[in-house]
Symmetry: C2
Subunit: 344 residues, 2 copies
């Protein structure tokens, strides 16, 4: 930033003390060991020179960068700002800077992001990426001494703490709601296979349907977790069942963006939600209640997910290590305008 900023030696010279004394005077931890008079003189000199401690040099010496890598799959997905905000609200007061890394493009970008963060010697990692197949890589990271927390995702057997919403309970609540309304043909429009959220929600869907033989699970479609993906697979679903008789009357989508796309698909075809099709989303992303119609969806406490994941990581970094564990937050079905009894 400024090439010409004063160093600790400059301050020492002005204050007439040794650099180590300056270091002590400027560090709250060690400050107590100095005479108040010296402390005062040093701080005055520092202010006079506009001294800004060099965190890079300190990091090299202490082997702590006081930074944390936060890896997310897509910053344009509105569920992440609340999560990031929650993370930041814990990290910042604890003295850590979050290095938020959006990996947009998938696995390659993920590897690159990890490499970049390791070069920067982040003290820990908060991973919100959802690829299920990196369970093995987690163990490798763990063996290398990496501190990490996984958020908004599950994992087969994770050596790191897990923080996520109760996907199973959420899916059950959604399906119970639809069944109570009288729906007997329900589809699940889920996200890409291999994502932990996809698999977890789909497993819950399958389990529920086994327990409710009176309800026909007509189909399960798969697409990207975006509005475009949701629109495409709702199109496909509508195309597949030409006779309205056999068509599902309700769907649960993999997330709210997909639900949004499904709404668009209906609109384009002149169909109406909830009259022609009930839709339940997942997450309760910001503004889901402003859609037309307001989206019935499973609310996940996103900000809280962020807060707790950061808290767990800071604990690890402080050596109050909580190793493998799972923190599951209850979710709430928000019943709004996109669900209603089936027509007829």
């Amino acid at each position: 930033m400024s090439r010409l900023s004063a160093t600790i030696d400059d301050v020492a010279r002005v204050a007439g003390v040794h650099r180590s004394t300056v270091s002590r005077a400027l560090n709250p931890q060690t400050q107590v060991k100095l005479s108040p008079e010296t402390t005062r003189r040093v701080q005055q000199a520092a202010r006079k020179l506009g001294y800004v401690p060099n965190a890079v040099a300190r990091g090299l010496r202490t082997n702590e960068s006081m930074s944390v890598g936060v890896v997310i799959p897509d910053i344009l997905n509105p569920i992440f700002p609340p999560i990031i905000s929650g993370i930041d609200s814990i990290l910042r007061p604890a003295g850590y800077t979050a290095l938020v890394t959006d990996i947009q493009g998938g696995q390659n970008a993920y590897e690159a992001a990890l490499a970049s963060l390791r070069q920067r010697r982040v003290d820990g990692l908060i991973l919100a990426t959802a690829h299920l197949d990196d369970g093995e890589s987690f163990h490798r990271l763990h063996e290398q001494g990496v501190r990490a927390v996984l958020v908004n995702r599950a994992a087969a057997s994770s050596p790191f703490p897990l923080v996520h919403g109760d996907d199973t309970g959420g899916m059950r609540a959604a399906l119970d709601h639809l069944a109570t309304l009288g729906h007997v043909r329900i589809a699940h429009l889920h996200g890409p296979e291999g994502l932990s959220t996809t698999e977890g929600r789909r497993a819950a869907f399958d389990e529920w349907s086994r327990q409710h033989p009176e309800v026909t699970v007509t189909a399960s479609y798969c697409g990207p977790l975006t509005a475009e993906g949701g629109q495409e697979i709702m199109d496909a679903l509508l195309d597949a069942s030409t006779e309205a008789q056999s068509r599902p009357t309700a769907v649960v989508t993999g997330n709210d963006l997909m639900a949004l796309g499904a709404l668009r698909s209906l609109r384009v075809r002149g169909l109406h939600c909830p009259e022609d099709m009930s839709i339940v989303g997942f997450n309760d992303m910001p503004f889901a209640d402003e859609f037309s119609p307001p989206l019935t969806t499973v609310r996940v406490p996103l900000r809280q997910l962020g807060v707790e994941s950061a808290r767990l990581l800071v604990q690890q970094l402080h050596g109050e290590g909580s190793g493998a564990m799972e923190l599951t937050f209850p979710v709430t079905l928000m019943v709004r305008g996109s669900t209603a009894p089936p027509r007829g």
Copy 2:
């Protein structure tokens, strides 16, 4: 991250060369000066040891952190993810890491964020914060050799490049649209005073109204740039004009979140948009077209703002310095469902 990672000396030992040779072999710039055989041996040793270069140590030596501070007022405002995404798409390929800092709480947090970023020795700054009164502080930063770009904001006299949308043109387009529809009583629900976007848009509003004496500008309300703020000041506006006769029939809001709040205010009172009140937002934030009704708003090319600001900063960092300059992007009025001719 991993406490026990190999150093350049470890690699040197395994490869049977000196550390400086390792440094050269691993740096594309200096690699040419080595024999291919040596380069190969070093790289092989590095791979074998799982060597990860230490960016902290390099930063101390080179006085470059290869990081850039990105300061934003509120990550929960949906206009920022696209901007951040645009920034990242330039910074990352150029080798820089974005340190995104959300200052939520205003001026104190802003100062703290700047201090933190300076300690980390970021190479440059992208500022999306909008306080108008820090024009002076910009000059101070500039004199200290700080490299920076201001995005999504104007400034009285900035020593740094400015990248923003054409607020004046956007406001004019919005008002022309409303006038064409037949509105003759229009209000501007703007954001907090002292924000550059507030002042710019308000000035354009005032100028337009001077040129259109046939249109009554009944009032100008001020509140925070949030949905809650928008709802409050729409409430106030409706309370103030009890007789529907004198009430404005259309409003332009400071941003889309305020427009959203205004919509809620109407809904709570049993009024309808656009029948009882036309609303024009500003920015075209993600999902503004999904509101009920879909929001007529001024589209600002948010992602592009991010891209260009990052490009300008990287130029500065490469010494291809473009100093003070202003990059104004054209905006587009997106006419959707929230505007219509006034009733009667």
